[in-house]
């Protein structure tokens, strides 16, 4: 029931966007609308904003001119599936690390003081500085006897982006129990671990769930960007950049890959929503 309704709403949201897009194309000027030389409304011409149906049609066409090439749709789906699996790995890793860090920071004041600024800093370092290090050092590792695979570098970078919202949100959540509840656990002389498991973790769910959502988005982005950055083929990231290179002659093409990325984000968000439902009992105050 719930699931059907959310699918319907998702569809409605898509319809709204497409209508707005086409509506703007109807009324908007091909040169957009500028104030003081700054274009505040986008150009509405077909090469800047291709028609929805043009993009749809692109999906049905063969991807490349070679014999037996699959359609763009199939290519995008295949790439999305590839990126999805890496995102999942990155997400899981990021969530684990984020939760572990949050727990550590909650436990030790010094750890919090020392780490929190660097957790923040970690997200301000551009990937140019990180990707080569991950690829270079990762290449010298072996995981469970298996040599390092390129997708592992991508997953590591994906996790690197995903852990941040979890660390911040989870720390907030672990800090959220009120003084009365903490006093209760104190009165039981409950160990730190017991307080964590019986009180702080369940109480943190309200903060954790949005953090998981953000982490999901971050892991998808991390995967896509890292694919481009490290030159890993097979995923949506590669499609985005390759289709972008083709945009000059075929402006609708990049939109197919972008749509793929958006769909990927939706699927991951939907999975987190399912998790949210599973955790709902810890969230009685939530509507």
């Amino acid at each position: 029931m719930v699931r059907l309704r959310s699918v319907l709403y998702g569809g409605a949201a898509l319809a709204v966007i497409l209508l707005l897009w086409e509506g703007y194309k109807l009324v908007g000027s091909p040169q957009g609308w500028s104030v003081n030389e700054v274009r505040l409304l986008p150009r509405a011409d077909d090469s800047s904003m291709p028609h929805v149906w043009t993009v749809a049609e692109r999906f049905t066409q063969p991807e490349i001119s070679a014999e037996g090439s699959s359609s763009v749709l199939v290519a995008v789906l295949r790439a999305a599936w590839f990126s999805f699996r890496i995102s999942l790995a990155g997400w899981l890793g990021g969530v684990l690390v984020g939760v572990a860090l949050a727990v550590l920071m909650q436990r030790f004041r010094t750890a919090r003081d020392a780490l929190l600024p660097y957790v923040v800093i970690s997200q301000t370092v551009p990937l140019v500085a990180i990707a080569p290090v991950v690829v270079g050092w990762g290449g010298q590792l072996a995981v469970l006897g298996q040599p390092w695979q390129p997708w592992m570098s991508v997953a590591v970078i994906s996790g690197y982006l995903a852990f941040f919202p979890v660390a911040v949100g989870m720390l907030r959540g672990l800090d959220s129990p009120g003084p009365a509840q903490i006093a209760l656990m104190q009165a039981y002389a409950a160990s730190w671990w017991q307080t964590l498991v019986r009180l702080r973790l369940p109480a943190s769910v309200g903060h954790l769930v949005p953090a998981l959502r953000l982490a999901a988005a971050a892991s998808v982005i991390g995967t896509i960007v890292a694919e481009i950055s490290t030159g890993t083929r097979g995923g949506i990231g590669r499609l985005i950049i390759e289709y972008a290179q083709a945009a000059t002659g075929d402006p609708a093409r990049p939109w197919t890959a972008i749509a793929g990325a958006a769909a990927l984000g939706l699927v991951v968000a939907a999975l987190v929503s399912a998790l949210d439902l599973a955790l709902a009992r810890f969230n009685p105050a939530g509507a």
């Binding site: 800047s48 490349i64 001119s65 990707a131 030159g231 290179q245 945009a247 075929d250």
Partner: protein, 354 residues
């Protein structure tokens, strides 16, 4: 080091080649050498590693994660200056393939005309020919032009956001010619544009070269041997692509390039023009051209006032030793290594490069 582990019992020697970008006809010679079995015949088992935006091929090479790398000379020299022990062992592209493109009506035909314009620029170390050209024409790139970050596509030029765009002959220039001119409903033609060629302006720099590990070249006999074999088989691949451009296009397309077939054929053709004819033989490094590259790299300042190199390259930055041997072997095999008779084809681009 990867080549330390020579093939077992005389089996093929594993070799990794790091490219600087994704699969496209720019690297067709190496793919052809794999597909045609040239590497295998030379006893090499070559794995080609594609590039990415943040993959620096010469670094991968210097770190020992690849045995050879394809990189532009100025960028590789900059890494050398930072301690990367690498040597140019074959200058595959004899000419520069970079040009500055603008709509004809903007009247930008020389570097001097760029003054006061919005000039597209990739950055990524691909900007020094442009800057040298402007400097030579008496323009301060930091002040006299507005530099705009250029993307993977050429829409900014076609939209009129920028006046002149950087383009590789073999790639972005083709993209422009694959686009529909909204005024005519047909594809743009070369007549619609003016281009400034840095070869003509005298500020060209050496581009794609095969780089090898300096230290191993001096100490590891097996690696020296492998280098000769690798350069030889690679040039054989390039010679094949010169003669069989369509076949090489098909190889690249089959390898998964998403840019269409006509685009790749164009690229193959333009790349061939950068290699052939090669007077001293393909891959030979010409001291004068090298010196021009180095001097521009030392003297030209970019928008931030930085030069590529702070001093002249030290040690063995390039050597013709291996490529000479390779050329000898090729000549012995009757391969045309100068391509004197080469004449480019005329490629018709389809809409979107399909």
């Amino acid at each position: 080091g990867v080549t330390d582990t020579a093939g077992p019992e005389g089996g093929p020697v594993p070799v990794k080649l790091q490219l600087q970008w994704f699969t496209q006809a720019q690297f067709a010679g190496y793919y052809a050498a794999v597909e045609q079995g040239y590497y295998a015949d030379a006893g090499l088992d070559v794995t080609i590693l594609e590039g990415g935006t943040d993959i620096v091929p010469q670094t991968v090479l210097a770190q020992g994660q690849a045995d050879f790398a394809i990189a532009w000379v100025p960028k590789a020299l900059a890494s050398r200056e930072q301690g990367a022990g690498i040597t140019d062992v074959a200058q595959v592209f004899q000419r520069s393939g970079t040009r500055q493109v603008s709509f004809k009506d903007r009247n930008i035909t020389t570097a001097a005309d760029l003054k006061g314009k919005k000039v597209g620029n990739w950055g990524f170390g691909n900007e020094f020919e442009l800057f040298a050209g402007m400097t030579k024409a008496g323009i301060d790139p930091g002040k006299d032009v507005t530099l705009v970050q250029q993307q993977f596509d050429m829409q900014a030029l076609l939209n009129g956001d920028i006046d002149a765009a950087q383009a590789m002959n073999y790639n972005e220039y083709a993209q422009v010619l694959e686009a529909v001119n909204p005024d005519t409903g047909k594809l743009y033609t070369p007549d619609d544009f003016s281009t400034i060629s840095w070869e003509d302006e005298g500020t060209a720099m050496y581009q794609d070269a095969i780089w090898a590990n300096t230290e191993k070249l001096s100490s590891d006999a097996a690696y020296q041997d492998t280098t000769v074999k690798f350069v030889e088989a690679s040039l054989r691949g390039w010679a094949y692509c010169r003669d069989e451009a369509e076949a090489c296009r098909d190889i690249v397309v089959a390898k998964g390039s998403k840019l269409g077939a006509s685009h790749q054929l164009w690229q193959m053709n333009e790349v061939n023009r950068l290699i052939w004819p090669a007077e001293g033989g393909a891959g030979m490094i010409d001291q004068a051209a090298w010196d021009q590259t180095v001097s521009i790299a030392q003297d030209t300042r970019n928008a931030e006032g930085q030069t590529v190199l702070t001093k002249a390259p030290e040690g063995e930055a390039f050597t013709n030793e291996y490529v000479s041997q390779a050329l000898e072997n090729l000549k012995d095999d009757g391969v045309d290594v100068t391509g004197e008779s080469y004449s480019p084809e005329t490629v018709t681009l389809a809409e979107g490069g399909a």
